[in-house]
């Protein structure tokens, strides 16, 4: 449409902006709680995260159920306040707090007006020290959790995750991360109180405060409100995850499904491993962002899927690369073939310099974007603290990303992204996809699960905001 004007040149980038770590302060309180405060005085708000270790030494589905319901009932009243009073008191300073449990931690998160920090932490302290788990509220929340489990069972994203976790981890504690209805049904107040008494303690926990606060003042407020939280907990350490065991394609049947949910898992290294930056870059080039080989192939060239993505996923006891794509039923095997092809290509053929530079810029830019908000800073600080790291680690990580060579990235790809090391799980209409999948590999049909499980313990009772056509290409 502007052919007469001739080609225009893409403007060059100005010099890269450097990563600036915002001011912060840290103190370990007498009760063992580590408090980290990060200042970002942009909007007059404060973000709060409290991470309490919730590891487990054995696979225990009943523990998963108790933890899920405890997270959902933690704010259901204390010795002195009801559910409604807690919510109203938080709301009056523009605040709210929610709790959620996963395989590694209990995370309480929230935010509010910065002037309300003391109120928010006082209520948090009351809940941590005197959560009452009233029988009525436990009954209500148990029913709600059971309903959510039923809904989750009809969601393909949930069903395929359950199958993938079992396939990846077997009898390791990570093998079951979702509560079953049978394990939730018998739970009562005494179970919640017992779990709280055993595990909700300050030793090993980290409180992160980020926002429009003076770091030293906020530390004092934290000390005054949470310094008296006490009691000894029995910390449990999760054993390291077992290596992935490659094998047949696991096919979980979902009769009538109009798409197949394809998932693959590959080995990976942790955040502080010398190859971490190189693997992060290799994963980006493969499928970790929109401008990757896998997305350009199966979405933009072939139209098999809407939002394929490949994520380098870290948990306390192990790391993995997880690929996810929901593809039209008719092209299930074709999409998996292209996936194996792209994994094989990156594991065996050198990547182009421009592919590496593009991924490198993306990784560096993502750190700048992630640190540009209060919520982003709170999240990053909490996540890294779980691995004993602080935000200044990101400066070192930036240097590693900047210096990783093609050889480094190729070596990481060859080691970790080789299709021979992948485990593959497909959820779909077995009658329509089993035959073509068996052209690629042996297929093992998975028996349907006996009981319902829930993907993620719901952290919030409010339904999610309505999803519009999030029309564009899914970013990253």
């Amino acid at each position: 449409m502007t052919a007469l004007l001739g080609p225009r040149e893409l403007p060059a980038l100005e010099e890269n902006r450097s990563l600036v770590v915002p001011p912060s302060a840290e103190r370990t309180l007498g009760n063992g709680l580590t408090v980290i405060v990060v200042e970002r005085r942009s909007v007059p708000l404060v973000e709060v995260r409290l991470r309490i270790p919730f590891g487990r030494s054995t696979l225990d589905p009943s523990f998963v159920a108790r933890a899920a319901l405890m997270g959902q009932t933690l704010f259901s009243g204390t010795a002195s306040m009801s559910t409604v009073e807690i919510a109203a008191a938080l709301q009056s300073v523009g605040g709210a707090l929610h709790a959620g449990v996963d395989v590694d931690r209990l995370l309480i998160s929230g935010n509010g007006l910065a002037t309300g920090l003391e109120r928010i932490l006082s209520i948090l302290s009351d809940v941590l020290r005197a959560a009452a788990y009233p029988e009525d509220e436990v009954t209500t929340e148990r029913s709600r959790l059971l309903d959510r489990i039923r809904i989750a069972q009809s969601q393909p994203s949930h069903l395929v995750r359950v199958a993938l976790l079992r396939r990846m981890y077997g009898d390791h504690p990570y093998g079951v991360q979702n509560p079953s209805a049978a394990d939730v049904e018998p739970l009562r107040t005494a179970d919640m109180a017992a779990l709280h008494g055993a595990r909700v303690h300050p030793a090993g926990a980290v409180l992160v405060i980020a926002g429009d606060v003076n770091a030293w003042t906020a530390l004092d407020i934290a000390n005054a409100t949470l310094g008296a939280w006490d009691g000894l907990g029995g910390a449990e350490v999760t054993p390291p995850t077992p290596p992935l065991r490659p094998g047949p394609i696991v096919l979980a049947d979902r009769a009538g499904s109009v798409q197949s949910s394809v998932r693959l898992a590959l080995p990976a290294v942790g955040r502080t491993h010398p190859q971490h930056a190189a693997l992060q870059l290799a994963n980006l080039v493969f499928g970790g962002y929109f401008s990757s080989r896998w997305v350009e192939n199966i979405r933009e060239d072939k139209g098999y899927t809407y939002s394929p993505h490949s994520v380098l996923d870290h948990s306390v006891a192990g790391s993995s690369v997880v690929l996810a794509a929901d593809v039209a039923t008719d092209v299930t095997a074709a999409a998996l073939l292209e996936t194996y092809y792209e994994l094989g290509r990156i594991a065996t053929v050198p990547i182009k310099p421009e592919e590496l530079e593009q991924a490198r810029q993306y990784a560096l830019g993502s750190l700048l974007l992630g640190m540009s908000t209060q919520a982003g800073l709170a999240g990053l600080t909490t996540t890294y603290a779980a691995y004993g790291l602080r935000l200044d680690y990101l400066v070192e990580h930036t240097a590693r990303l900047a210096s990783a060579t093609r050889e480094d990235v190729a070596a990481a790809a060859a080691t970790y992204l080789a299709p021979a090391r992948a485990v593959t799980v497909v959820l779909g209409d077995a009658d329509r996809v089993a035959a073509s999948l068996s052209a690629l590999s042996t297929v093992e049909l998975l028996a349907p699960p006996a009981t319902g499980t829930l993907e993620t313990p719901p952290e919030d009772a409010v339904p999610p905001p309505p999803a519009g056509p999030d029309a564009g290409p899914a970013g990253d």
Partner: protein, 435 residues
Amino acid sequence: MSDHDRAPGATVALERFALPNGLRVVLAPDRSVPVVGVAVVYDVGIRSEPEGRTGFAHLFEHLMFQGSANLEKLAHFRHVQGSGGTFNGSTHLDYTDYYEMLPSNALERALFLEADRMRGPRLTEETLRNQVDVVKEEIRVNVLNRPYGGFPWLKLPPVLFEAFPNAHDGYGSFDDLEAATVADAAEFFERYYAAGNAVLSVAGDLDVVRAAELVERHFSDVPARPAPARPDFAEPDVTAERRQSYVDKLAPLPAFAAAWRVPDPLTDFAGYLPYVVLAEVLTDGDASRLVRRLVLTDRIATSVGGYVSFMGEAFDVRDPTALLLQAHLPSGGSVDRVLAVAAEELDRVATDGLEPGELDRTVARMSTHLLREADTVLGRALYYAVHEQQRSDPALSHELPHRLAEVTAEQVRAAAAALTTARRATVEVVPGGAR
């Protein structure tokens, strides 16, 4: 100075100008972080797509990412992400947005990319067919292959509204999507993607003088085309209760959503705001009216939500729109009963008004939500662009906490009184599966 005055940019005058081709521009400097948000908003959305072409506004949005005069297919994605940035676009009822968030050293590049596609996307049969396939997978993953897909944003409008622009499925039917042609796309672009129908906004780490120069450099030769006249989408209010149901074969449990029309968000903003507050009084958190009654006390619903406008964008929508309530019920739960109890609670607000402190705490939480969105340069850029486009008031977001604080308990009471059964439209999800 109150807290609210310290919203980012609140004390900085926004730079606002128009280019000779009609493009309106808003610049909002904030040098506290080395990132920028860039948004281009076109004044066309789902309501403007023609009959027989449902889903076309969204499909066309996908095509805007498929290359332009100086950009091959895939180049846009690579240039944004290869600059360390993220991108997306989304199609709304009244507008379509395209945006990037990037390190600020890539500002000029982002402006180049947006200007290039504003001059015209590459529209080919190949990319059209490819993106029809992609959109079909998007609809499968978000609507057809999951329980409660499209509930309530696609399921309730046809009950509340009668006119095609307001009532139809914005994701589109597969038949309509497959029938779309390159000629349709070219015509849609020519008509709606005019410079005069667009707003460009940049927020974050920028120098106003330099940024204005860059905007002129890249956008001033975008051909001038005037904005098309915007049709009137008005239709009469509901005067007798409307109720429909459908079977969702994947859904294990019942659910419903109900809607009432609200005052015009543009011409009667002061009359509209009490409804936005009321939705939160009713449903924000465990201390809200309906969560207390339906979920915690009577236990006849497992979750309750409430908001204004079908896509939950109370400040980015034009008339006609609605206040929505939605609830998921336990197995065997009665929608009639929940509707009756909800009506009782509305009546209680209408008759007795609000409790002491109830309005203040609700508005305080709403302020937190608004400020939190404003903490991202992209959130600000999008608000500035849409508010410039719909209201010629890009700084509205700075004033919203104040405007909400001005809403009185009496106005909220009156809003509750207006949510009568006769004006209500309800859609019910009948569970058909996963028993």
